[in-house]
């Protein structure tokens, strides 16, 4: 005790001076980290906050430079009007069908393909897998014209087939990436379970469905969320293949906002069409995935780490 006090040592025997410098260093380091994190988060959230706040403003508030972020009166009419002009429910139905079928299709077909590539040896496997990766780097713009011609000849224009059928065949939006995620996941699993199943006379398909798929929950969740969000947000392909407004998905309905407003107000759209209304419409587009994400994000971040996507 006396020795420690005399030499100014802490209970662990390290000089107090050093302990305090370390603590101070740590304190400043943490402060810096938080400062940067908050700064980046602010830059990320700014557009979202802007969207939310201006969609609740009256035009007067919006144009008034004295009103900053917080509207004077909370004005819900923008959202109501945007909802009606976009014919939101019809859009929701269309988006729901496309997103629902495409997501289910991709989960089934991509996990099958991923499992096949991960667990079976067959001639040409590595070459075929190269083709999977190759598909990823082919921009949709390169093959959009022949695809358009193909869908036209099949009579698929203005139907939901161009989105759902490729999804069930492990393609569609970034299908190759999803195959890759499943392959990486299945590759990391131990062989023992499958061997046991085969010895008991289980068929490969049943082994996959009843043993491997339940194990793949983290990968399934990741793929589910990616597929869902990408399909919901997609605009490029719906814009190509959907012509009639009644078939438009929710994001596409931003394009016909003004026209819809024209119809429901009987030609008075000129005065009513303004920035807060557009922001309200945008807000309606992002709300469904946002709500889903708020609930799923806890599991999501965990799952990403467990899928072994990166090794």
């Amino acid at each position: 005790m006396e020795y420690r006090e005399k030499h100014r040592l802490s209970t662990t025997g390290i000089p107090w001076m050093l302990v305090w410098t370390r603590r101070l260093q740590r304190f400043f380091f943490l402060g810096l980290v938080y400062l940067l994190l908050i700064d980046i988060a602010f830059a990320f959230l700014l557009p979202v906050i802007y969207m939310a706040s201006s969609s609740l403003m009256t035009v007067q508030d919006f144009l008034d430079p004295g009103v900053f972020w917080i509207p004077r009166v909370v004005y819900w009419d923008n959202i109501v009007l945007a909802y009606q002009s976009m014919d939101y429910l019809v859009g929701l139905k269309n988006s729901g069908i496309i997103v629902g079928f495409a997501t289910i299709g991709q989960i089934i077909s991509c996990s099958l393909a991923g499992y096949g590539f991960a667990r079976f040896k067959f001639p040409g496997r590595d070459f075929l897998f190269m083709l999977v990766l190759f598909t990823f780097i082919v921009p949709p713009q390169t093959i959009i014209v022949p695809l358009f011609i193909l869908y036209r000849q099949l009579g698929w224009i203005d139907t939901f087939m161009p989105f759902t059928v490729p999804a069930f065949l492990a393609h569609g939006l970034r299908g190759s990436l999803l195959v890759l995620i499943f392959r990486q996941f299945f590759k990391r699993q131990p062989y023992e379970l499958e061997e046991a199943a085969y010895i008991d006379g289980c068929t490969p398909l049943r082994t996959y469905a009843q043993i491997m798929l339940p194990l793949a929950r983290p990968a399934l969740l990741v793929v589910f969320l990616f597929s869902l969000v990408w399909h919901w947000n997609d605009y490029y392909e719906p814009m190509m293949y959907l012509m009639k407004p009644q078939n438009f998905t929710v994001p596409l309905r931003l394009q016909i906002l003004q026209q819809g407003l024209q119809e429901i107000t009987g030609g008075a759209a000129g005065e009513l069409f303004n920035e807060p209304l557009v922001m309200a419409a945008c807000f309606l587009v992002v709300i469904p995935p946002l709500v889903l994400y708020v609930f799923a994000q806890r599991f999501f971040v965990e799952s990403i780490e467990r899928t072994g996507l990166v090794d």
Binding site: V33, A41, F44, S109, P139, H171, N233
Partner: protein
């Protein structure tokens, strides 16, 4: 009757069965359109006569490079933006991932925020949103930077800097997935490596350059390729819009559009090929890697 097959043959058949849906999809939705688009690129398409093709040789390509005065400037812009954006996104996401990887309170909240753009960044919404200038640097830090930049930099260079600044949030918004992959990468580095190097007296700085970065190099390459592909299909990419205009607005010049699509593809292919080949020099793959 049951077929007698060796184990290996059975394995092959099962494997093929599992990837069969993918193979059908590949043939119908990738391989065939791909081959078709080569033919289209050398043809003139008559829409009215059931898409009949008439061969025109290199005319479409000739037009793209020497006649159409819109195409080349757009191509240059796209290449230039990508060359600037990719390093920014990579550095930013690596840095952010490093911050979020710290074991401190509330870090999960930040992770959730940084992934948010992936969830809500619907092309059309983003387009509307960023028409409002909320994404420029002035909106974020409230300084009149452009005047400063033009004062100190040569005009050509300053244009690029301003272009980046105006799209800053937009660029940052494209780094959600990259941040996620880097976080996973940080977690994959074995702590024993850090301990060993610390015992040998390495400083934090040295540890970052000699351990963290090499161990992350496989992810850096994945992220680079992802960022390039992502950037080439972005809604703000002028080429994407130009191609759509050529193909589907009014004139329906499908053959010409296919040729443009091919030029675009070759460009991406060269870019990614370069990244890939150079990566053999600097990517470190840990000890045992089967497959």
């Amino acid at each position: 009757m049951k077929l007698r097959l060796t184990l290996r043959q059975r394995q092959s058949i099962n494997g093929f069965l599992f990837i069969l849906p993918w193979m059908v999809g590949f043939l119908v939705f990738v391989a065939r359109p791909f081959a078709h688009s080569i033919r289209l690129a050398f043809s003139k398409v008559d829409m009215m006569a059931g898409f009949r093709l008439s061969f025109v040789g290199w005319d479409n390509f000739n037009e793209a490079f020497f006649i159409d005065e819109r195409f080349v400037p757009i191509l240059v812009t796209v290449i230039q933006r990508n060359l600037v954006d990719v390093p920014i996104i990579l550095t930013f996401s690596l840095f952010t991932a490093f911050l979020v990887h710290q074991k401190i309170r509330g870090v999960t909240l930040f992770r959730a925020i940084f992934f948010l753009p992936v969830v809500i960044a619907s092309g059309l919404v983003v387009q509307r949103l960023f028409q409002q200038d909320v994404g420029s640097i002035e909106a974020v830090i409230g300084l009149d930077i452009p005047t400063l930049v033009y004062m100190y930099l040569p005009a050509r260079f300053a244009d690029i800097v301003i272009d980046v600044m105006n799209r800053l949030t937009l660029i940052l918004w494209r780094s959600g997935i990259q941040i996620l992959l880097f976080i996973a990468g940080f977690q994959g580095i074995s702590p024993t490596l850090y301990e060993a190097s610390r015992i040998d007296g390495a400083t934090d700085w040295e540890i970052f350059w000699k351990i963290t970065l090499p161990m992350l190099s496989p992810i850096i390459i994945v992220n680079t390729i992802y960022t390039i592909v992502d950037g080439f299909t972005d809604i703000f990419n002028p080429m994407v819009n130009f191609l759509r205009t050529v193909a589907f607005s009014g004139s329906f010049r499908l053959g010409y559009a296919a040729a443009l699509g091919w030029i675009y593809f070759i460009l991406i292919f060269i870019l990614i090929g370069t990244v890939f080949i150079s990566s053999r020099k600097w990517v470190y793959y840990g000890g045992e890697r089967d497959s």
